[in-house]
Symmetry: C2
């Protein structure tokens, strides 16, 4: 799957991923009203609004981008109905040949991690039959529990040719409380980065490992250090746009081959129509605003990478 | 909810929690066959088997115990149908007046953590209506992302009078890879423990905080240290039984009031009938074996606490 991701990044010239993190407050009134008129102000109605919103954005952007990253929390907050909308979104993205990174940040140990890996990346045996479940291509995983937590995910990835992005350094202001603390003179995130590189060594695609890392866009200098520690690790970079990162901040996350990183933007794309910059699109044509925001993001990152050369 | 948990622990004299972590391999053949004959070898059939298994164990143990801890991964591995069985289990435990600790180990930042908190502990606004979702009483949470990840959970707990158990030191062999690394001369888990105590200070029940900690049973000496660092923090202790911990290992996790900890056993209770010790119950009467295993666990811990006095 890392090979497919890279191939699609090359084809689109867009090392970006659209975060499908729909809050009800992002969803235009006319979509909400239509869903509520059909299903009432119910969880089913909310889930339908989420799905209609996603579908419109996917339809308007899928030809420009290699991948999407649905954030499962935004679906889980609507319970079972929300998770059905998550699954429907994943399936639809596959129809559109998009790589799907499930931003699930799961992490446990042993058979429990194996169960999460099964649910999100694998398939489950029921009697003589096998079923795939949420069926994302990549999942994000939390490393706090160590190798016991990661290896069951890696095993499923090997079987299914899927991949992981393991949290190394997150983009939020308080990420330093634990991640930046010095251990033998180096911050915890560097130690985690080293382990990610190790976990990924035996699970290589053509040029990069199936086991990637998450490193926030909000710390450009770290990109440089972690890029060296994890030379063959693909880096998923959240924090672009709404969280403050710009294309110029991100050049060190990439290798000299122009690859090695994929930058996420969620609100900046899916709620673009709410920005002054895109307000001329109007709320009704929110998905066209998203398309323009994708084009602008691609140009920003491409420009920054060219300038850096 | 921490007050209710403590009240129920006192009433049952059982500082224990039964982990409802059903793997298909734990579920007796006759239950699987019945479910599959009704629903086929489908995800619905698997979910029904899980639910019937849980129900039988709850019916045979609820009068002895204060709480249960369903591990959501074991349900998530069956997709939407599995999550319906999770929800059904939570609801049924509430009917039986059990405190439900959702072992979900979620953790993200800002609005994403808020969405997880809503899904598991809170309620979501849809138009003019409000809905509760999975509706556990406590949730387990991962601290790797720092305060930004925890505070949105704490906010929902304050509103809903619910609680958290935050991972401090987990019971698995590789937990030390990051958690034991020394920062300013002290292991990371102590620093996390200090933060848990801080996060909990403003959110106190009558004698303990609503914000608890997870500390594995497999490191008795740590119990002593962490008990002092977090004097008003309730400690959820996994790793008893199948993972190797015994009652005698656990005395330091408790305070002098005999409270302050709740010990989880999953496989040791729900798959008790597979142990030589309980095989006379036979597979058919698996739930009676679980009841006996609960009684034995209560006696083991009670004996250890009395000996320690």
């Amino acid at each position: 799957m890392i090979n497919k991701l890279i191939e699609k990044i090359k084809k689109t010239n867009a090392p970006i991923v659209v975060g499908l993190d729909p809050m009800l407050s992002y969803i235009p009134k006319h979509i909400q009203e239509k869903s509520f008129s059909e299903y009432g102000e119910t969880l089913e109605g909310a889930a339908d609004a989420v799905w209609q919103f996603n579908k419109a954005i996917i339809d308007c952007t899928y030809d420009l981008i290699p991948a999407v990253k649905p954030q499962i929390a935004m679906y889980e907050q609507f319970g079972i109905e929300g998770l059905k909308a998550f699954k429907r979104t994943v399936d639809y993205c596959h129809e559109k040949d998009l790589v799907v990174i499930g931003d699930v940040k799961r992490g446990d140990i042993g058979s429990t991690s194996a169960a999460y890996a099964t649910g999100h990346l694998g398939s489950v045996q029921v009697g003589a039959k096998k079923y795939t479940l949420f069926d994302e291509d990549f999942a994000t995983v939390n490393p706090y529990l160590g190798s016991d937590g990661i290896k069951p995910f890696v095993e499923v990835c090997k079987e299914e040719k899927k991949g992981l992005f393991i949290l190394v350094k997150t983009s939020n202001p308080s990420s330093g409380e634990f991640q930046d603390r010095l251990i033998d003179g180096r911050p915890l995130y560097e130690h985690v980065g080293e382990m990610v590189a190790q976990w990924g060594e035996d699970h290589m695609g053509d040029s990069y490992s199936y086991i990637g890392a998450v490193v926030g866009a909000t710390y450009p200098e770290l990109g440089k250090v972690l890029r060296k520690i994890m030379p063959k690790t693909f880096i998923l970079v959240p924090g672009y746009g709404a969280q403050g990162g710009t294309g110029a901040d991100l050049v060190h996350y990439f290798n000299e081959d122009g690859l090695g990183a994929i930058v996420n933007s969620s609100r900046g794309i899916i709620a673009a129509y709410k920005q002054e910059k895109y307000e001329s699109f109007t709320e009704e044509h929110f998905a066209d605003a998203s398309r323009q925001a994708v084009l602008d993001m691609i140009a920003d990152i491409d420009g920054a990478l060219k300038t850096a050369k």
